[in-house]
Structures are given as C-alpha cells and as structure tokens.
Point group: C3
C-alpha cells in the first residue's frame, strides 16, 4: 500500500465530502429551510455520488460502517448555518466547489480502478461520482441543475478523471497521477469560472 | 428471533408501503394520468426508499423475491383510482403519510442495524429510506418536493430513527424501542400538521 | 445457452442503449449545452435504467467491465451533435424511442428472470428499467418527465415485459417470447403515437 497516495486519496475524499456538504447546506439555507433540512441536504449532496459509485463498482458503501461522514455533514451544516449568507461570496463557494469536483473525479476513478473496473468505465464512473451529488442537491431543492450551465463543469470532471486513469495506466509513480490530475481539473475549472471559458454550445438548430 | 418485534416490524413495513403507494397513486391522479401510471407512481414511491436502503446496506432488495409489494401497489392504486379525489381530505392523507414516515424511519434504521450497519449511519439510512420515496414521487411528477415544506418532515423522521437506535443500543426489551419510536414520530408529525409547528427557518441573509 | 435468444437479447440491449443515448444527446443539444454535456446526458440516459436493474437484481453492473457502452455513447453523441436538429423529425425520434422502450422492457424482465427474480417482480423490474432512463434524462435537464404524457408509455412497457414473462413461463421455445413481446410493445407504442391512443385519464375530481 502506497502511503502517500493513500493519504492524498483520503484528503481528496474528505475535501470533496466537506465542500459538497457545505454546498448542500447552503442550498437548504437559501431555500429558507430549517437546520435539520440543512443537515439532510448536506448529507445527500455529500454522500450521494460516492454511494452510487460504491454500488456500481460493488464495493461496500463507504459511510455504512463509519459514523464520520454523517457527523462531518452535521458539523459542516452547523457551520454553514451559523455563518451569515452574505459572508459567503458566490465566487468563494464556486472555487471550493471546483476543488470538490476535481477531488471527487480523481477519487472516484481511482477507487473504481482499485476495485477492478476497466479504465474507460472507471473514467465514466469518476465523472458520474463527481457530478451526480450536485444533481441530487439541485433536483431535490427544485433549482436548475448545475450541469445545465455551460461552464466546463462536466468537462473539468472528465479531464481530471481521464488524466488520472491515463497517468496511472502509463505507470507513473503513485502519488503523481492523483496530484497532477487533481491540480489540472481544479485549475481548469477555476479558469473557466474566472474567464468564463466554455466549449461552444450546440448551434440550436 | 423476537416474534412481537418481528410482527411489529412487518406491520411497520406493510403500513409504510401502503401509505406511500396511496400517495404515489394520488399524485398520478392529480396529474390526470392513466391507471397504469397510477400503479407505476405507487410502485416507485412505495419501494423507492426501501430499494435504496437495501442496496446501501448490501441486503437483497426486499421485493425481488416477493410478488406481494408489486401486487399490493396495484391493489392500492386501483382503490385510490376508484375513490373520487374529493373523498380524500388533504389532511387525512397527511396523517396517513405521517404514519408512513414514522414507520419507514424506524423500519429502515432497524433493518440497517440488523445488517451490521453502525448506529450513526443506521439513523441516517432510516431517514433517507423514509424521505426519499416522497422525493422520487414529487420529482418524477414535477411538483415541489415535500422536503421543501418547513413542517418537521425530516425532523420527525430523524427523531423516530434516532430514538429507535438509542433505545435499542440502551438494551430496552425488544418490542419497546420500535413501538416508542414509531409513536413519538407519528405524534410529533401529527402535532406539526395540526398546530403548524416548525423549527425556525434560515434567516435568509 | 440458447444462441438465437442470446443474440436477439444482445441486439435488444444494444438497440435500446443506442436509442436512449441518442435521446439524451438530443436533449442536451436542445438545451444548447456543449458536446461533453451531450455525451454525459447520452451516458446517464442510456445506462441509467440498466444500472438500476443490475443493482436491484444483484448482478454486476453491465458496463463496469466493458468499455463499449461508454464509447458507444460518445460515438452516438458525436453523431447526434453533427446532424442538424431540423434533420431529426420529432416523430422519427419518437419511433426510435418506441423501439428502445420495448427493447429495454423485454431485456430487463429477461435478465431479471435469468438472475432468479420471481416473475411478478421481474415484470416490474423490466418496466422500471425501460422507463427510468428517460426520467433521469428529463429531470436532470429540467424538462417535464416523459411519463407525464398520457400516451401509453408505461402501458407499452408493462405490456411488453408482462408478455415476455408470461410466454417464457408458458415454456414457449426460446427465441419466440422476446421476439413476440418486443414486436407487441413496439407496435402498440407506434400505434399510440400515430393515432394518439391513450387510456382514460383520471377524471380529476
């Protein structure tokens, strides 16, 4: 077991979980729901993607034997609740979300590979893992899904997951693929937010 | 095997299933869909939460080897279809739904514990089990999710599941935890409906 | 292993996958999303139902060890992207979708039976398999679910799945049940589209 990779992986997991939990709690706050609802939205946003991933790759669902994710979602919901909404700049949340998206894409693809999934499905599993939590959050809250914004959201996730799987398959020494893939995805998404980068949309006819 | 608990558990399961099936069929009726759609909405509402629960705790999905739930959903959809909508007072449905919510919260947490899930995730699994069926129903039907109403919906579910797990962990003799937890959840939700109880919503800024 | 059945089954699977992938990509194009989003929508529409089916019947998820579905979705998204939207008559897509619906209903019920699911749940699993991909597509894209149209959508799926399971249980020689059930479902849905057939909607009071 390569410890640095494992450590980086663990941090990608905890980081992604925390950021998505915060985004779920904030969504509930914006909908003027109560504190328990904020915890619930934090939970389904944070563990939704990983639950689907583990079920698809036939791994035990990661939070069933570990109270930490449920409690962490409660703590983060409490923090998100306590801090006034105006202290959360829209952009800061987007940058945090960029980190979460890149982290979950890499972690999801890596865990799928670890469980024997083929490279191409592993990339797709990483993308679905990273993107579906936000979909669950938005659809349950009745707001338009983040995927419908033309701002390299899915593209970033795909780039990070594909880069991780490619570098791992090429046999790069172990901590490197996840570090490079995470950094690429994070930078790409931040650049898309900062300079409004987008792929050309469908011409519509 | 403690028979009374098993019996109460079975009733919680059948009761929750029936009530959620009725709410699914009524939602389809209100959308002026046909009878087959009413059965389909009854089915996805009634078995949706339990299917997710069983998949998460790695148990066989409860209705795969038992024709009863699918048929029961058909019978209830037929009844819901035959009875004019004006005979269904809004409030009566809400009280039935309160019973279903409490029943599924307790049953879900209990089944998770039975399958070796740790106490904290077992509570969360009970809450998700109980709440997600309604979310699937509302999102598929294109109506705002029941979770967005500030009326102790998730809170009731959390109270019932947490009480059950706490009393079970404390070692209370077996039929008691589920009876007490179900009754508490049901009474709390009925009180919330009757007297418009709610937790304070987010202050919105 | 009956080879003709296996072959027909494989074709039902590939056909259903392709058609649903096309419908997902077209939905993304209509929302004026970018090409990567078209691939993502193709993917979740095409593999969504089958993933749920495999998870419910406790089979390995079909696309985890096979790169073909993910790549096929990419190729179909590219084609759907390249062809101008006005070249896709609304009706042609509906007829293709009719083929996909019938194919997935039969294939889903058949795979459930193969994995030891009882006949009644197998029919329900076939229906959910065939219908849920479109629901995932529509809900994620923020358009009203196809299930809300009164045009024998679920009914067609139920007819095809039930006919397949009935004929198989009656012991008809093997390629026949899937051929007859697929043809019945496809013809019924085409007739519903062509002549606006529908079951009576709920009277609404």
């Amino acid at each position: 077991m390569d410890l640095p990779l494992e450590n980086l992986f663990t941090w990608l997991d905890i980081g992604g979980l925390s950021v998505f939990a915060a985004s779920g709690a904030l969504t509930a706050a914006r909908k003027r729901l109560d504190f328990i609802a904020a915890w619930f939205f934090a939970l389904i946003t944070a563990v939704g993607g990983g639950t689907l991933r583990d079920v698809m790759i036939d791994a035990p669902v990661f939070w069933m034997h570990d109270p930490a994710p449920v409690i962490l979602c409660g703590v983060i919901a409490a923090l998100a609740w306590a801090v006034p909404l105006r202290w959360w700049p829209e952009r800061a949340l987007e940058w945090l979300d960029a980190a979460g998206l890149a982290a979950y894409s890499v972690y999801g693809a890596g865990k799928a590979l670890e469980w024997g999934v083929s490279p191409v499905p592993a990339v797709a599993a990483g993308v679905i893992t990273a993107c579906i939590g936000g979909v669950i959050r938005d659809v349950t809250a009745g707001v338009p899904s983040v995927l419908l914004r033309n701002e390299l959201y899915i593209t970033t996730s795909l780039a990070a997951a594909a880069m991780f799987v490619a570098l791992t398959t090429l046999g790069l020494p172990l901590p490197l693929p996840s570090a490079i893939a995470f950094a690429s995805g994070f930078v790409l998404r931040c650049a898309a937010i900062r300079w409004r980068l987008a792929l050309p949309p469908h011409r519509g006819h």
